[in-house]
Symmetry: C2
Subunit: 447 residues, 2 copies
C-alpha cells in the first residue's frame, strides 16, 4: 500500500514529473549511455527532498543501510541486481566478505545487515561478516532482532589478501563508511575487489566534491529535458578548513550563506514561490543528521541568543564525533578546525499524517531496487545511526513503485511520483560515480 502523502503539488514539480514521464525512453537511454562511460557505485542510497516546487538529493550514501525497510515483494529485484553486480565484478566468486559498521547494537542496523546477507546469499554467494575492529580477536555472535544469530569474525590478513579463518573471498563488500578512517587491514588489497573503494569512505570523501559532480550531472540532464537545472539541484558553496569557534573563522560561511540566499531569493521570485529561503550548514565529510544547522539569514551567525559560534561548533562536532580517528592525524575534534559546506535548504513538503517525510531511494549497481520514507517524528531529529534508537518510522514504497503509469495526470499517481524519485536518485548515484573517478588516487596511472 502506498502511504498517503500530502504534497504541496504546485507548479514546477508537476511539470517536472510530466517531463520526466514523457521522456522516459530518452532518460533510460541517457542512463545507459552514461553507464557505458562510468561505473556505478556498488550500492547507493539517496535521500531526497521534495519541496513541492523543487526536488533534490540532499545526501548520497555509498555504504547504505536501510535495506530492512524494503518490502519483501521487492527482494527479488535486489537479488537480481546483486547477481548482475557480482557477475560483472567476479563471476567466479564463491565467497563474499561483508564488513559492517561497528555499531552492532543498533537493531535497525542489524536488520539491514541481515537483509544484505540474505540478498547476497540468494544471489549465490557464501556471505560471512568480518570485524573491522582490530582489537576484537575472537568471533562474536550478533543477536538479530528476529532472534537469530550471525557471527562477526576477526579479519585475517595475509600479504595481498584479506579474509577470515578458512574463508578466502573474491570480493570484500564494505558496509562501514570509514568515518573513523581506514585501518591497515583493508589497505593495499590489490588481489581482491574492495567495494566501494577506500576513497569512498568518509575519511576521504567530501560533500562539496559530490555536489560539484551532481551539478555537472544535473546540468547535462536538464539540457536533455530542456529544463532549468535548479529544479533538481541545490546550490552550494564550501569552505576550506576553518575554526567555527571564532566569528572571524566564519567569514567564508557568512559569505556563501549571503550569496546563496540572494540567488535563491531571485529564483523564488522568478518562479513565484512564496517561501522564505534558507541555507543549511553541514560538515563537509561524515553523515548528515547531527551537525546540520539551518539559517534564514547570514546574520544569525552573529546574533543568536545562545552564543552562536559555540553552538555551531557543538552542533557540528556532534556530527563529527566519529571523524576523529587517530590514524587520520589532527582534525576538527582535536584542533577545533573543520570544513563546512553551505547548501541551499530544500524544504520537504511531504507529510505522512503530520510528520515530515523524506523519500530514500535504494540502488544496487545501476538499478533502483526500492525505497522508503524516513519520517521524522520531531522536527529536528537527531539521527545518529549508532544511537540507542532512531526517531524515524520507515514506510515502504509500494511494490511496483518504480514503474510509471503513463497517461495518469501528473501529481496524482504515486507510481509516477516514485519513478521520478528513482530518476533523481540515479542522477545522484551517477554523480557519485563521477566523484569517485575524480578522487580516485590510482587514476593518475592512466593519465
Amino acid at each position: 500500500m502506498v502511504p498517503h502523502l500530502t504534497t504541496a503539488l504546485t507548479g514546477p514539480i508537476n511539470e517536472l514529473e510530466q517531463r520526466v514521464l514523457e521522456s522516459m525512453p530518452a532518460i533510460e537511454r541517457w542512463f545507459r549511455l552514461e553507464w557505458m562511460e562510468h561505473t556505478p557505485p556498488f550500492y547507493t542510497s539517496v535521500d531526497l527532498r521534495n519541496a513541492g516546487f523543487k526536488l533534490a538529493p540532499v545526501a548520497t550514501d555509498l555504504f547504505p543501510r536501510g535495506f530492512n525497510h524494503l518490502t519483501p515483494e521487492m527482494l527479488p529485484l535486489a537479488v537480481q541486481a546483486a547477481m548482475a553486480a557480482i557477475e560483472k565484478i567476479c563471476p567466479e566468486a564463491k565467497n563474499l566478505l561483508l564488513i559492517p559498521e561497528n555499531c552492532t547494537d543498533n537493531s535497525f542496523y542489524l536488520a539491514s545487515l541481515q537483509r544484505l546477507v540474505q540478498i547476497f546469499g540468494q544471489a549465490g554467494l557464501n556471505v560471512r561478516l568480518g570485524n573491522l575492529d582490530e582489537a576484537q580477536t575472537s568471533p562474536r555472535p550478533l543477536h538479530m532482532p528476529d532472534g537469530s544469530e550471525m557471527l562477526l569474525e576477526p579479519l585475517v590478513r595475509t600479504r595481498g589478501r584479506l579474509g577470515l579463518k578458512d574463508f578466502d573471498p573474491c570480493t570484500i563488500l564494505l558496509n562501514n563508511d570509514l568515518s573513523t578512517g581506514a585501518p591497515r587491514s583493508i589497505q593495499y588489497l590489490h588481489e581482491q575487489y574492495l567495494l566501494p573503494p577506500l576513497h569512498a569512505g568518509w575519511h576521504v570523501r567530501r560533500k562539496s566534491q559530490h555536489f560539484r559532480s551532481y551539478e555537472e550531472v544535473a546540468k547535462k540532464f536538464a539540457k536533455l529535458l530542456g529544463m532549468d537545472a535548479w529544479l533538481i539541484h541545490p546550490m552550494f558553496g564550501s569552505c576550506g578548513e576553518l575554526d567555527p569557534s571564532t566569528p572571524e573563522g566564519l567569514d567564508c560561511v557568512r559569505h556563501h550563506a549571503d550569496t546563496i540566499l540572494g540567488k535563491v531569493r531571485r529564483k523564488y521570485k522568478e518562479y513565484g514561490i512564496n517561501e522564505k529561503p534558507f541555507v543549511v550548514l553541514k560538515t563537509n565529510n561524515g553523515r548528515d543528521g547531527a551537525g546540520i544547522l539551518a539559517l534564514r539569514d547570514a546574520k544569525e551567525l552573529d546574533s543568536l541568543n545562545d552564543p552562536l559560534p559555540q553552538r555551531l561548533h557543538k552542533s557540528l562536532h556532534k556530527g563529527l564525533h566519529k571523524s576523529s580517528h587517530k590514524s587520520l592525524g589532527d582534525n576538527a575534534a582535536d584542533t577545533g578546525m573543520t570544513e563546512i559546506i553551505v547548501q541551499e535548504g530544500v524544504q520537504t513538503m511531504e507529510r505522512i499524517h503530520s510528520a515530515v517525510a523524506e523519500p530514500v531511494v535504494c540502488m544496487i549497481d545501476r538499478y533502483v531496487v526500492g525505497g522508503y520514507y524516513r519520517v521524522h517524528a520531531e522536527r529536528s531529529a537527531d539521527e545518529d545511526l549508532c544511537g540507542p534508537g532512531s526517531s524515524y518510522v520507515p514506510l515502504a514504497f509500494a511494490e511496483s513503485s518504480q514503474l510509471p503509469r503513463p497517461g495518469v495526470k501528473p501529481g496524482v499517481s504515486a507510481p509516477n511520483r516514485f519513478y521520478m524519485y528513482g530518476v533523481i536518485g540515479r542522477l545522484a548515484m551517477l554523480a557519485a560515480s563521477y566523484e569517485l573517478e575524480a578522487t580516485d588516487p590510482d587514476a593518475e596511472d592512466y593519465d
Copy 2:
C-alpha cells in the same frame, strides 16, 4: 497469494528440493560460470512437469507468450532484466522493433504482446510492432483486451536493414516462432540484431537437438549436486523422416517406445515408484499442444480401436498444420512424411482444485522474472495458440516466489518449490543456449 497445490510429495522430489536449496550458492555460481561461456537466449519460457518423484522440462519456448500471466508485482523484475539484456546487446538503442505472431485475434496473445511492449517501453525503448505478413501493406490497428489499440505496421526492408516507416531499430525482437518459415524480409540482417536468431525458429529447430543439449546440461548439473540426472531429465529417442500412415513407417517409433518404456520401468523399480510408465510422441518441430500422443505400450501403435496410424497421423498433423510453409519446400503436410520424437512421459502430479497444473517459468536474459500455472480444465486439452480461446487458467506465482526460504522443511514451502522450478527452468534455458550454438549456421566461420 500462492495457489494451493496438492502435490504427491513423496521421496525423491523432496530430496531434490532439499539438495537444491542446500546447494543454492554452488548452483548460482555454476550458472554464472556457464553464462561466461554461453549466451542466454533473449527470452525463454519453460513448461515443467512435476511427477512427485521427478521434475523435468517438457517444452522450451524461445518465443514466449504468457507475459500477461505475470503478476504486476513482478513487472519491475522483468523490466530490470530487459534493461540488462538491452544494455549488453545495444546500449545506445532508442528503438525496438517487435515482430509478433500473426494470430492477432487471440486475446490472450494480445495481452501478452501488450505486456511485452510495456516491459521494453519501461526499460527505455520506443517499441513498435512490425507485421511479418508481407501481404499486409498498410498499418492495421490491433484491438487490445483492455480497450486500447496498438498499431501493427508493414515492415520496410532496405538493403541491410529492417524497420518501419520512419523507424530504424537497433534490435529486432521476434515473438513469432517462424513455424511457417522465415520470410526474406528478416533474412541476411547483418547490420542489426535479430533476436532470437533465425535458427531458433521452428522451421529449423528440432526438439531432439534441444533435449540432447538438455541431457548434457542435466548430467553436468546432476554431477554438481551428486544426484541421478534422471530425476530431472526425461529420456527420449528421435526418428528421422518417416511416414506415420503405414505400420512400417512406425518401426523406429516402436523401437524407441519399447526401449524407453523398458528403461523407465527399471528406474521406477529402482526408486520404488508404483506407477505405470508411458511415453509421449511429438513432432520433432513446432509447439506442443496438439500432436501429442501418449502410449503405455508400443503395441498400442498396432492395436487401437481407431485405426491407429491414421489417428497418429491426424493427431500429429493437427500440431503440424502451421509447419507447412511453402518456402520450406516439401514437408510433412505435403508428403505425408514427418519427424517424430519419443519421450518418457512425466506425469504432472500437481493439482489446483481438481485440475492438472503445469508450472511455466518465464525468463528474460538469464533471469527468472516470474511464472504461472497452466491449468488444464480437461485432460487432453488442445492448446492451439491461434485458436478461439485457451482451455487453461493462468495462476500467478506469488510475488517473491523466486526466493527460497532456507530452513523450511522441504515440500511444504511454496517459495522453496518455486526456487527449484526456477533452477530447472534455467537448466532448460541453458540447454537452449547449447542448442543454438550447435545449430548456428554461422558458427563454422570460427572453426
